[in-house]
Symmetry: C2
Subunit: 263 residues, 2 copies
């Protein structure tokens, strides 16, 4: 069974594996499917090192591979330990996810704050681990005492319930975002480009001439305001050079249609 | 069936439903389970308004309620439409999630950028919708042409595959985070408090006296450096008043034990 899993075709290439990306440690996971969906969520956010502490049904479990949507390499390389102490022995920092920390004196970080700190830890060449508890009960007090800090996701306090893979996904997503440089907003222009003001002016000139010709702007008093309003509309968002060419065609064709009807 | 679903006991209280929180619109969803897990993810992040466009297996479907982990109220109130046009007709802004936009001229935002804009839209009293495509194929070109902007999550480009509920969860999480004020790092102290410098000094004085007494600091030349090093250690992170009291006890008991052995 193991050979089949490790050699399975169709495993997606999850990309280069960062040496110092944090280790995800599932403590006493119950369902093998959840280990698989966890691996998928890890791959989404660029976390690649998986450790299992005392998985309830033993390891390996073929169902994990089936649930991983191709994140095979993470499961193939997963390490199994009997105790949390053994699983964290070679790590320099341990953070434990904990939805409702109670009666405990501990540093608590948001997922975003933790991700930023995890990047800083990795940049220093130190190894960090993230503890996630069993599906039903979460981490116990002894587990949490082994962590430097707790991580608590800000979420709707009336509905905090996340499944294991979703909890891992949010942490993996924040890990990825902590180094992300994509601008929050951009215009995807493909073959064309954002129009210059000159190109826009050229179109507005064309439009105004044709509107003068057809009489739409015949009220001399209102004319400047009407032209300005059209200008405002076309300046509200970025327009591409290709779209202006289309609009030139639209204006020309509407004008020609009108002229043809007038003949 | 419907009465049972809408009246079901045990549905978690998802908290107050924001009037202007964005509408999640699932376009041609295939599996009712995914509608249920989507409702759960929405509740996590404080999104409450669900619309379905032409769900493949019809609606309602009991399986959705079972998969929602108690987000019943969202499913109970879900609205069904035949077309995207009908589903967005009363909205002022539409954003469409699209993992791999191609051959399209469109504004593309990150989930974080979109969430921030969605908050601004809501603050203006305008209604926004978020389009999510069918599980297998995603949104088609006609769907995307109905959106003001596309949303593309920054994720590991070698492994972008998210299931529907995970895609909704990331957007819901960012919606929640866009108004979140929890500090990225805090010390949960429960009944105690972060120690004042005076309380710390008091403990360090006790420790130094006992270390003088037992001879640990007998090297007069090294003594100042050794005391400074202990000071550095106890100043590295916040210490609580309770922990200092425990440490007072630890030092006293170790000293007493030594003295008892010496008698």
């Amino acid at each position: 069974m193991e050979a089949r899993m490790t050699g399975r075709d169709g495993g997606a290439d999850i990309g280069p594996i960062g040496e110092f990306s944090p280790v995800v440690i599932l403590v006493r996971p119950q369902l093998a499917e959840n280990v698989g969906t966890t691996a998928r969520a890890m791959a989404n956010g660029g976390l690649f090192h998986l450790r299992l502490v005392a998985p309830r049904d033993g390891w390996p479990q073929e169902r994990a591979w089936y649930a991983s949507s191709g994140a095979d390499r993470i499961l193939d390389a997963a390490q199994v330990f009997d105790t949390v102490d053994e699983a964290v022995a070679d790590l320099h920092h341990v953070m434990a996810t904990c939805p409702r920390p109670r009666h405990i004196v501990k540093t608590v970080m948001t997922a975003r704050g933790a991700a930023s700190e995890l990047r800083a830890i990795a940049d220093r060449g130190l190894k960090a681990g993230l503890l996630f508890g069993p599906e039903r009960a979460g981490l116990d007090n002894e587990d949490m005492a082994r962590a430097d800090v707790l991580i608590r996701y800000p979420l709707n306090p009336d509905f905090m319930s996340l499944n294991l893979a979703q909890a891992v996904l949010i942490m993996a997503y924040e890990w990825w975002m902590a180094c992300e440089t994509t601008p929050p907003r951009t215009l995807m222009t493909n073959e064309t480009h954002v129009a210059t003001k000159g190109e826009l002016e050229n179109f507005l000139g064309h439009l105004t001439r044709d509107l003068d010709e057809c009489g739409f702007l015949r009220n001399e008093q209102k004319r400047p305001g009407m032209v300005r309003n059209l200008r405002h509309l076309f300046q509200r968002g970025e327009v591409t050079e290709q779209e202006l060419r289309t609009m030139h065609g639209v204006v020309t064709e509407l004008s020609n249609g009108r002229k043809a009807r007038q003949q």
